[in-house]
Structures are given as C-alpha cells and as structure tokens.
Symmetry: C3
Subunit: 425 residues, 3 copies
Amino acid sequence: MNGTIPGPTIVLDEGDIVEFTIVNKGTVTHGASIHAAYTQTSKYLGKIEAGKSKSLLFKVSYPGVYMYHCAPGGHAIPMHVIYGQYGMIVVKPKKKYKLETILNKPPDVEIFLNQHEFYSNGKDAIESKPLYTAFNGKLFRYVENPIKAKPGDYVRIYYLNVGPNQTATFHIVGIIWDFAYWQGNPDMVYPGGQSVLAGPTDSWVVEFRVPPDEGAYLMLNHAVGPTDRGAIGLLVCDDSAQTPVTVIGDGPKYSQEELNTLKSKVTRVISPFEPGSPDVDPVAYYGPETGEVTVKIIGNSFYPKSIVIAEGTKVKWVNEDVFSYMEGEFAGIHNVTSYEGIAEPFSSPLLAHTESFTFTFNKEGDYKYMCTPHPYMKGTVSVKDMGGRSTAGPSKIGLGFLITLLFLVTFQLVVTVYNRRKKAE
Amino acid sequence: MNGTIPGPTIVLDEGDIVEFTIVNKGTVTHGASIHAAYTQTSKYLGKIEAGKSKSLLFKVSYPGVYMYHCAPGGHAIPMHVIYGQYGMIVVKPKKKYKLETILNKPPDVEIFLNQHEFYSNGKDAIESKPLYTAFNGKLFRYVENPIKAKPGDYVRIYYLNVGPNQTATFHIVGIIWDFAYWQGNPDMVYPGGQSVLAGPTDSWVVEFRVPPDEGAYLMLNHAVGPTDRGAIGLLVCDDSAQTPVTVIGDGPKYSQEELNTLKSKVTRVISPFEPGSPDVDPVAYYGPETGEVTVKIIGNSFYPKSIVIAEGTKVKWVNEDVFSYMEGEFAGIHNVTSYEGIAEPFSSPLLAHTESFTFTFNKEGDYKYMCTPHPYMKGTVSVKDMGGRSTAGPSKIGLGFLITLLFLVTFQLVVTVYNRRKKAE
Amino acid sequence: MNGTIPGPTIVLDEGDIVEFTIVNKGTVTHGASIHAAYTQTSKYLGKIEAGKSKSLLFKVSYPGVYMYHCAPGGHAIPMHVIYGQYGMIVVKPKKKYKLETILNKPPDVEIFLNQHEFYSNGKDAIESKPLYTAFNGKLFRYVENPIKAKPGDYVRIYYLNVGPNQTATFHIVGIIWDFAYWQGNPDMVYPGGQSVLAGPTDSWVVEFRVPPDEGAYLMLNHAVGPTDRGAIGLLVCDDSAQTPVTVIGDGPKYSQEELNTLKSKVTRVISPFEPGSPDVDPVAYYGPETGEVTVKIIGNSFYPKSIVIAEGTKVKWVNEDVFSYMEGEFAGIHNVTSYEGIAEPFSSPLLAHTESFTFTFNKEGDYKYMCTPHPYMKGTVSVKDMGGRSTAGPSKIGLGFLITLLFLVTFQLVVTVYNRRKKAE
C-alpha cells in the first residue's frame, strides 16, 4: 500500500471523524478492512475495481491499536493479506495510559511496531510456514539501524502482530514492562510481565522505562524458530541518543536508484506466484517409476512450481483452494494453460475445489503454464527422455535477495481527518 | 456424538445439578471429559466399553463456555478428539453479562459457535496441519446460510475454539466488541477489542450491537491461512431479519436421503485412517535406487498410506505414536498385517514407540494391510517390476467431497438437568 | 544447565538481591538471558567464552514466573534455547495470592512445571515441528511417577511454557481453576477457567483445590497433537498422599550407572546436529533422473542429513540460516568440508544466508562432511553406481530411545541470594 509493506501507519485521536479513500492503481480488484471502524467496511470499501476509488467516512470511538488490510472479498481477502497488503491504525485514547499519568509526561520514545511474515509459495502460506519474518517490513531492520534511547527514557510501543498466521509472544531482553495494555486499551492494564501474547491482528501497547545500563536490548518474538527468520530488532540504550523520537511502522521505501542497487546484488529471487530461485522453489524430480505426479493449486500458486518428469508421465493438477464463495478476484477458481514451449499445448477448464485436470506428457521439452484468471500464477514442466541419464536441471539461476510481492505497489490510501488535522496521505 | 460433529450443544444454568449419561453404540471403547465439571470425570466416564453406558451426576458452579469431548483414556483421548468427538457446554451465569445490564434486555441474537479442524491423516493431525476448518461442523456453513440480524440488534456469541491444535484470533469484519468475557466469565470483562485470542479449549463470550449499515459482516479466525480452509461465516445485517434468534453449535445432521444425495456428488473421499482419494492421500513412488522405504505409524494412521516400490525394496514400518501408557483403545500400540493380495503375506508383532518391522517385497503385486488392534487403520503397497517402465498408478479414483470420520456416529449423549428443565437429549 | 534440561529451578522472594554466576565448562561460547531481571543481561552475561565465567547482581522487584535461558548473542540465542538451555525462575510475591488469603494457609502441593519441546533436526526446530514434548525434562514423567495430593488439598502450579516455539493451553481434566494469575502476578487475577493460554516464555500461576474424588487428574496442553508427543502428567488424588509436597521443575539427573543402563536399552538415537537413527533422520534417496539435490543448512544442522545419489549428481548446499548479525557462536555462518571417505575431497568457503556451494559427485563411495565453525554439525553422502540396482541402504542402525543434546551439560549456574538465603547452586 502506497508502495510499502506494511502500508502507512495511521495515527488518529479517539473521537476523530476520518475519511478513508482507496485509489486502486493496480490491475486487479482491491478493497479494505479497517479494524478501527465499527461499521460496514466491506459494503463501502469491499470491492474496488482496477482504476476506481472508493471512500468510507467514520468516527473512531474505541481507542487502541488496529490492523487494516486489503479485503476485495472472498478468497482474495486472505490472499491479499498473506502477500503484504496491511498496516497499522492507532486510535490514541483521550484517557492517558497509566504510566503517562504516573510519570506525568509523554513518552520519550514511541515505536509503532508491525510484526509480520513473508511466504515464498501458497502452500507454505496456507500452512503457516513463513520463509522470513520482519519488524516493519525488513528483516533485521533495527539490528542494522537500532532504535536509540537514553537511560531512564519512557518508552511506549504500539505492537501489532499482523501475522497473518502465527501467534507470537513479544519480549524485550532485559525488560519487564511497567504496564501492558490489551489491544492498546488504557482501561485494560496488565501490570508487569516479561511478554505479551498476540495472535494475528492482536495488539498491545507496552510501556517501560529504559534501565540505567547502556547497551543493547533485543526486541523479538520469543517463539524463537520464526524469530530467527528476521523479526528481531535492537533498542540501544545510549547516553547520546536524541529523544524524544518516534519510529513509524511503515515499511521501507526505496528510490528507483536504491532499487537498482539492490537488484544488482540479488542472490535469491522470491515470488509466491511463479518459480523463484531454485533454492527457494526447488525443482521436483520424478523418476520413470512415477505413474502420476500431483501438482497442487493452493494459496494462488502452484506446488511444486517446477517439475522434471519422464516422457509418458501423467501430471494431475488439483485445485486445493477451498474458498470459492464471493467473487473477490474470482475467488479460489483456477485453471492451467500452457503458454510457452508448446510441443504439446494443454489447457484445462476452470477448476473448483477438488476438481482436477490430468495431462500425459509424451514429448520431450520445456513447458511453461499459467492460470488464466490469475495470470501472475506460473509453473513449469520439463519432460526428459529418461531412457538415458537426465542431463541437466533447469537453467534458471538465482540472481542478493529480493522479495517480489506482485500485489505490492498497486493501491494508494488517502486518509483525511476532519475537524483536526491531516495525518497521512 | 449423537451423529454430529460437533456433538449437541448443552446449555445449563449456574447451579444446575446435571446428569450425563454416555451410551456407547459403537464398536470401540469411548468415554468423556466434561470441562464444566469440577470433578473426577475420568473415573466415572473414562472408559466405556462398546455397548455399555455410564453416568456422572454433578453441579455446575462455575459459569462459562466449556468444551466436552470423548476421553477413553491414554492415546485414545487425543485421537478421539482429533477425529471429531467434541461439543460445547455453556453454563449461563446468574450474574448478568455487562452489556445485558446496560441495555437492560436479553440478546436479540445468540450464537453458539464451535471452531474446529478436520485432518486427513494422522501425521498432519499430530503436526497441526488441518485439511479443512469449520464453524459448527461444515465448511462455509454460514456463508451458504448466513445468520441474520436487524440493525441495532444486541448480539452475543459463545465462542469455543475446539481446536484440537491451532490457536485462533476470532474477529468479525466491521465489528469492535462492546465487551468480551474471558471463558464466558461475567467477572472477567474486556472492554472493546477487534479480536479475542483462543487456544484449543479456550473460549470467550463476545457481545456487540449490530451497526446501522445493512450488509454482510464476515466472522473468521484472523489467522488467514487456516481460515481460508473453511472457518468463515457471515452475519448479515438485514432490516427484514426475524429476531430474537438462537443459533446452536451442533454439527449438521443429515437424513439418509440427504446423505445419499451428498454421496452421489462426491468428488473426494477423506478418511484419516485409510487411503482416501489420491489427491488427498497421494501415492508415494519410490524408484529402484531406494534401498529402504520408511512408513510411519502416527496418529492412528499410516504415512504414506499408499506406496509404489520396485521389486526387492525393503519397507520399514516404524511406530511413531508415543503415548503407550494407560490402555485407552489399546494406547499407541500398533502392528501391520497383510489381508489382501497376499502373494507374500506379512505380519508384524505388536510395536511400541520406536519399534519397527521390516519386510522385503520380492514379488510383484498389490498388497493391502491393516493394524490388528485398530482394524480401521489401512494401507497399501504396490510392488512393480521396474526393470521396465512403471505401467500405471493405482486404480483408486476419487468419487463431491465427503469427509468420512469413522469414529463419528458411535455414541449417544443423554443429559438430564434436575430441578429445572431438560435441555438436550 | 548443570547437566539437566530444564536447568535448575530458582525460587526467590520479591525484593531479593541476587547474584548469578555462569561458569562455562563447555567448548563453545555461552551466556544468559534472565527474564526476572530488569537490566542489561546481555552486557553482563551475553558472551561467556569456553572456560570463562561472568556474574550479574540484580534485585528482583517484579513478582512472577520467569524463564531464563542461554543467550550467547545473535543466531546462537535461538539455537541454544531450541536445544535445551533453559529453566524457570520464580519470584514469590510479598502480597499473598488470592486463594492463599481465602484459605488462610500456604499450598499443600506446589508444582513448578516447565513445558518444553525437543527437536530432532534444525529444519523442524525452525518450523515448530517438535519430535517430542515434555513436562520437566522427560516424556510422561508424571505418568510414570504421578504427583500425589489428598482430597481437598490446595494446589498451586507455577506453569511456564518454555516453548521454544509452540503456544499451549494448559488444562487439567476434571479441574476448574479457583484462580489463575497472569505471569504469576498476584494483581492480575483471573477467576475460574478451564485453561490458560501461554506462548513461549509466557507463564501463569494456577490455583485450585483437589476435588473429593480419588483418582487421576490428567495435566496437559489441550493442543492435543503436540501433547500426544509426551507433555502429559498425572495429579493423583489419593487419601494416603504425603503432603505438603513440592515438585521442582528441574529435568531428571542421571548417575553414570543409570546412564549406562539407559544406553544399553536405546532403540533410537536422536541428535539435531548429526544423523541419528534412520527412522528419525531418514535417508533421502535420489534416482539418476535427479539433476541436482539441494541440502539445506538450517537451524545449525543439515537437511536432509543423509542422502544417497547416483554417480554424476550435483549436490547444492544452501545456507538457509538468516541471522548472521552479532557473532554469537559465529552467527549463522556455515560451510561444508569432507572429513571421511575422501575419494573426492570437497570443501566450501564460508557461506552467508542464501549463499551456496555445489559439488558434483563422480566417484562411488561414502562421504562424511561437517561444518568447520560448528564441528558438531555433520552429514553424509552415499554415491552409488545406479546403472545397476542400488545395493543397500546405509549401514547405520538405531540402537532404547536416547536424546543426545550436545550443548547440554556444558555450563554451570551459581545463584547467590544476599541478605536472606541461598536457594540454588
């Protein structure tokens, strides 16, 4: 959203009247679910066609930390969430948080912290197996560029577990909270505590004072397996820190020049929707003993994305996407159609859940295919004469470490706050 | 239970004296764990042999939303829970919920909502990888038949995350709760909030008023990967809705005629215990290079359930079920015995955890085998002469979309509430 | 720690001044994170080289149930936690827990209960797929040796979900809590409830009275799949029980003689770092059709650990460990170097995340290799002439059921409590 993952962090005051306008600059239908809004968001923002825009006017009456995300309807809701269309809205309470009352001053350090997951294929996305995790859009972002605070500083963190799949326990090494506030509600105060537990879309405000000892305080999800994939940051206590400071939750934004530099250093290409580098989307080899190979269509991608088979092998594509109600981006309806290397062209009808298409490959060659309703979904089949020795793997070579999320930069969010001020644009 | 998944929803009043009678109409031992009962359930209801019945008399002193489930002892407890033997008990508090006090009226819409998971094999069941998820027993049940409410209606949801494995964040698009009550306890009030977090057997009562805007409010687990497998429903705000209304949590019950119609439309057969359709339980092919194939015995099923191997290949069955204490349905003790296609019959001794049985298949043919203590557990081995080309996959063809849970319709629950009224039977 | 998993349970009183001294008796760098300490633990205890020791003096001002664990910095933190270096610290509150006030007596039964996970390889560790789970260090420990209480006894459980990955709902069959206290804080009281939800490092104190009925009350995580792997125990109500009693949370400690007896009965060898029994770390076979085999380096282990390939096959090792910041035990930097069976020796440079090393095996033979910076990481490659029939699997044979955690017995914890008493040593 607005070209970043997560999208812009939106900060409102309890009681504000706010107008959200979504401008769909992409090629597929988008929409929005705004958790801070107690109203029919799907009616007003549910399905915005490419090139169109829609608005919702509402009052934010409940203080807290909320998620917003794309919601074009049906199966496209989880898909657009999984693949990066989300962000944080904070409705600051009229009532002061308890530590602010006690200390009688605003926080010295305010951090808006989105924790979220990246997936390299639809099967992993459905099965909650992230390839990477992050705070505010970038692996190890605050290890590379630590957030700095002075000894004794009052810190408030607006923590949102975006998910979209995993439950997390947020912890900072060396810190016991003064207070944690469930979903950021100042009336739901938890005293003390080493951690807070949050499922996807759950949120907390945590508050504490920085201990007198200079050095690094590690912020992380204490579920250490997923954490090790990137959702780690440093809060560094440093006498020379410049506070007050605010760290917003928007993902990093790159200039075209920075993007070019990044691309020149790429060691791995990741896309949920088409074959990335072979170490991310490994080619699956099937020997001549294999009567039939099953390729799953799941989470708007093929699994495995690339296969090598012997002449004469049957390949069966099965639609494992279940949510075929409501038409959001055509719901979970898919097909397979060859578009390159067409020694033997093939094309299936539209497939609903459990429906399948089988094709027997009798001619050597490299085939590329796609899904017509979702043309970003792509896969390959290499057919070998395995009488002799298989000669070679596919020629695709990984190019640094770049995540390509195709849905990414395709819509713009305009937020207008009436009677008060304009917060984000 | 009583032929549905979930079993009957039981609603009691705080202070009721209640008698549970379990009648085991099945062929294996059953039992019950009643989370609303502060007493020795395992002693009185722990192990009920086929054809027998047992009763427990107790007083419900703690208000809340509880799970009950089959509990025949030992390894059979998780197995019977995983495969569908559960339901919800609500103990309504004497004290009014806060919103009922504020609005000074009972809810217009009361929804008893079980969220639960379906597994297609024991390995996935143990590893928390559901094939499907559901509200009240059926994928997309309330998308197909939405729950209807009028604008401004007071809604109360008794939400139970049955699991049996995944933690979930329950959310309704467009709604911020007025109040959430932890485990349905009126003394544990959470104000506001976009979601509630629940692990397996955790529960909440959530209350809110329907916004004035007509249209659809999507109810879901915000862990979107698993949600996309079926646990999605609609609460539709509609001026013409007939309220007050109560939606019970029982799974759908089908007449024999409806079942016949369903069966005629089946596109996929799923059973955790024997090979289903090949797209659910894909055949695993092993080339002649394979020295040894390992088949796991896990979650009361074989994995993979169907294998194709070359003549001369060794197959090793390893018992991965760990819980061999207590004798519930013979605990996690298994064996393998061929019963069809017996060019070479084979039979193992009983295997405890980590114990294995190895057999070398030297003769072409199709073999079927089972576990003697759990005769519903079945698997197949196809032995091919792979000097030449493997000729064909297995002949089994998927037939709709029918979930066969073998344990399902095998016991009856009779609940008697003394001094007051009879709620469920 | 001190030779057990979990390490010693440390019980302090709110307000104590305490000194932790870590003596590293191992061969790699260790450290400590002490969640009960509101201070810079990483500065004082963060990186303790082999043979060295370090101390931290601090005051425990916040009552509750906390985790402590090894924390040598960077990628080594999650690794050392995953592989067993953790324990529980309880800071007992000055204020009495509510049930103690009501009953006006201390608990009759005090249980310190660590719930934790064991992993057999790094990939499963990162992906949250435990092979086993346990209470206090041993599968089914309290099924084999139940904890005993008299009818009516007042029970307090200090429950810590160590994780390190899975969220759990702690439940006791037949029990509704009188009170649960979030993270053991006496000011955060939850009345009633069938369960408590805890992510990794989350904790609760739960209190209840044992019902009058003699018999067994099953303690478990109600996420039944993982529970079935070992985290189950019994609290047995028995008129003849000797109370008051305290059950500490330390893992079992074996004498050399007991260890020898255990080893003589081993049926399975498990090590996250090198090939264990083939039923735990199954050999992966690749036919001659396979152009390239990918071996992942993940969670400080190789995956698959043992492969069989045809002459001429390329093997590509890819470093999937991401956390290469901070130098804790050299961070997630790895290589591969052959050390045995060196018909064709091979050795890679150091590999950072996404970097890979490819080697084509042209000569038949059995190769063993390791990671130079982490010499406990080991793998094997068997190269076969697959023109003919693959002759045999690897010769390694499983030997009762022993978990080898290499990091285990390598450091000693000394805790000194000033002004009061010495609690653990």
